[in-house]
């Protein structure tokens, strides 16, 4: 390995490490939002509570979409590691479709809730719910933009250490988004649906 390659490798390792630290910080942020939700879940102010507002099929579909997008993101990162360009495009594209579908369902859900008077300004419980799930949704949007940028990189230049480094961090980010969703599904939606 030449000196330049070694330096590039070292730098992308540092970037991955720094980004990992950022994700830990992000995880703390989510854990505080979870804690807030747990505290405010009973603060319904005579408004709707968690047994009344969640849809069984929608959350199941959301979970399926996001978890399979984690898989396709993994496949995309393998393709980029092996510098197979067309496969990389395909898998990122599939991931984006899945994420977009997830977002559509989530926006529908939020719009429906607001329309029936169960918006975030209705009660402490709904404030906490919208903030937790909305912050996760914002992460999904950031992930989508990032994927689009990665596609642009793939289109404009050959796959090299730079693109692989971007992919590594995007993959870590996307898995965090998936993990947080598992938390949301099992701590927010399931107890509401099966209470």
């Amino acid at each position: 390995m030449s000196e330049v390659d070694a330096k590039t490798l070292e730098e992308s390792e540092e970037r991955a490490y720094g980004f990992w630290l950022f994700l830990m910080s992000d995880a703390i942020l989510f854990s505080l939002l979870f804690a807030t939700y747990a505290i405010m879940v009973t603060a319904t102010d005579n408004g709707p509570d968690r047994t009344e507002i969640f849809g069984y099929w929608r959350t199941a579909a959301n979970t399926a979409l996001l978890l399979s997008s984690s898989l396709t993101m993994g496949l995309a990162s393998i393709a980029i590691c092996e510098t197979r360009k067309s496969a990389s495009f395909q898998w990122i594209f599939v991931t984006m479709i899945l994420a977009l579908a997830f977002l559509v369902l989530e926006i529908q859900e939020f719009a429906g809730l607001i329309a029936q008077g169960a918006g975030p300004d209705r009660s402490g419980f709904l404030s906490a719910y919208f903030t937790l799930v909305g912050t996760h949704g914002a992460h999904v949007i950031v992930g989508l933009i990032w994927m689009a940028v990665l596609c642009l990189h793939l289109a404009l230049r050959p796959i090299g250490p730079e693109i692989q480094s971007i992919t590594e961090r995007l993959t870590m980010f996307w898995h965090l988004v998936g993990i947080v969703w598992i938390g949301i599904y099992s701590l927010v939606y399931l107890p509401g649906l099966y209470q």
């Binding site: 319904t44 404030s127 990189h153």
Partner: protein, 677 residues
Amino acid sequence: MFGRLNEDALPFYSEIAMAGAAVTVGGGLFVVAVVLWTGSLIYLWRNWLTSVDHKRIGIMYVVVALVMLLRGFVDALMMRAQQAMAMNSGGYLPPEHFDQIFSSHGTIMILFMAMPFLTGLINFVMPLQIGARDVAFPRLNLISLYLTAAGAGLVLVSLVIGKFSTAGWTGYPPFSETEFSPGVGVDYWIWALIVSGVGTTLTGINFITTIVKRRAPGMTWMRLPLFAWTALCASILIVFAFPALTVAGAMLALDRSAGFHFFTNDGGGNAMHFANILWMWGHPEVYILILPAFGVFSEIVATFSSKRLFAYNSLVFATVVIALLAFTTWLHHFFTMGAGASVNTAFGITTMIIAVPTGVKVFDWLMTMYRGRIRYQTPMLWTVAFLVTFTIGGMSGVLLAVPAVDYTLHNTTFLVAHFHNMVIPGALFGFFAGYVYWFPKAFGFRLDERWGRRAFWFWVTGFYLAFMPLYALGLMGMVRRLQHYDNPDWQPYLIVAAIGAVSVLCGLICMAIQLWVSIRDRERLADTTGDPWNARTLEWYSSSPPPVWNFASLPKIEGSDAFWRLKERGEAYREDENVGTISLPANSNDGIVYGALAFVFGFCMVWHIYWLALLCLGAIMTHLIVSSFRDPTAEVIPADEVARHEHDWKTAARAGSRYDGDPLCDYRTVLRKVPAQ
């Protein structure tokens, strides 16, 4: 179009507010005028404002800190004057203005004075100490600086456009909710905190990565200088604690601007939850402030006692334990909120436990001094003042850790005295000591010793005069943050406290004179050796000031006190024969771009100019995306330039060095020699 912003925001409603605004605007214009007048704009831009050199960024952080120290101190002086005269009268400050002043004093001193100060010191020193060329992410480092400056800018602008928060530096709801604080003050507070908080988090990530990944060969964990250890622990605390501040601030912003019900009185809000989240950040924050100062004291006490640090290992463990325990004590900030006897007891115990590793440290420093050859120069004076004063503050803290006692003393000036007694000697004295200690490294000449001593004595006397009376007043039942009062017994104490504040003012003036005198006499105070204090750690193994590339090449590190070992073996000033070209990251405008956008974003969120705020966010994102396509540009330093610098300064250093190869000051030698005398 302009949200809530209209001409009523200008400070024509009060003469004092107008004077404050005039000083702020005038000061800014004065700086701009001086820069333009001396024609140094291009120099400043090329060498400082766009520089990604960690040393320059560090110095710029300290400049921000010193400016904000002045602003925060003016607030303190105004409060002391008000309380000294407001016996059975309104004093000279109306209540609303007084409330703004104590809110901005706390916010500024903690977030925009202490934080930039410690970040600046770590930035300057830590990469040199661990033998690195720079931090892991130099461009990000610059961006962090400008985000911090943007937050500080928001606080300063609140003096001119609109008003600052009246809800105290902790901004407790429900008072800070729209219902009771409909103005823009709390919003200024929130967005200053969030914008600078993002910068601080990025800095923390940067420092951790640097220390974990960029230590010189042979610099194992247990050889790391103690300041680098405390920088690491403080950075870990930053990364894990600052999300709590972001969450608390963002939730309050949602309550205020979007009608959410997190902390409101109605709609199922829970104001106590805010106190919980805020202090989950706020308590670790105390240790973020204090740990780096502990690191400074550790370096100074070893250098000026001419001894190896006593019980280095236990100091490291104590630092790590403090960092861990910092997350377990937050509830002691609100014992009186009613969490119940068991919860209070648990947190009372954790609070007392955290005093143990802190006590270990105090003993380690004392034992380092024991039988050392102590030189009482200014950095050491600050350290000794810290040891005595901080111990007093620590004991009053252990007292407050007893929930039953806290019920009596909560919200009194006893508490105010306690935390100033921790943070001023524990953090600020440490930063001042570090400022004097590392100044010659940064600029190539020492600070004048005589004016330094004067500043020191005024500060320490002022501190005792200003805060010891507050302990007594607290025990007499005086509540904190009183704009006026009618108890004649309190006034003498408050007058003494005001005299203390004047003494601190004299200290600050002495520091300004010290800077002036030192620049004037820089020939006399010059340091050609790179090692003006006979120090022990690697940052002194470079010229003063160090070249952009820090070290021509690094020695193999074979133990703690790496530089001391080199001196003992007579290798400290041996010229490096085989130097090569060095490639460093080039200057970047990104800091200013992101800083400006973040500032406008924060300002627009405060005034509800949402379209422009969105535009700023869009611009930030676009810039991020565009810069992801830019290949990093590097500046290559030719080998002969490195070699020339290496030759020049080491020749000068050999000629000027008084200490090289002199083992007299080594503590083993000292121990051997003392009984024989």
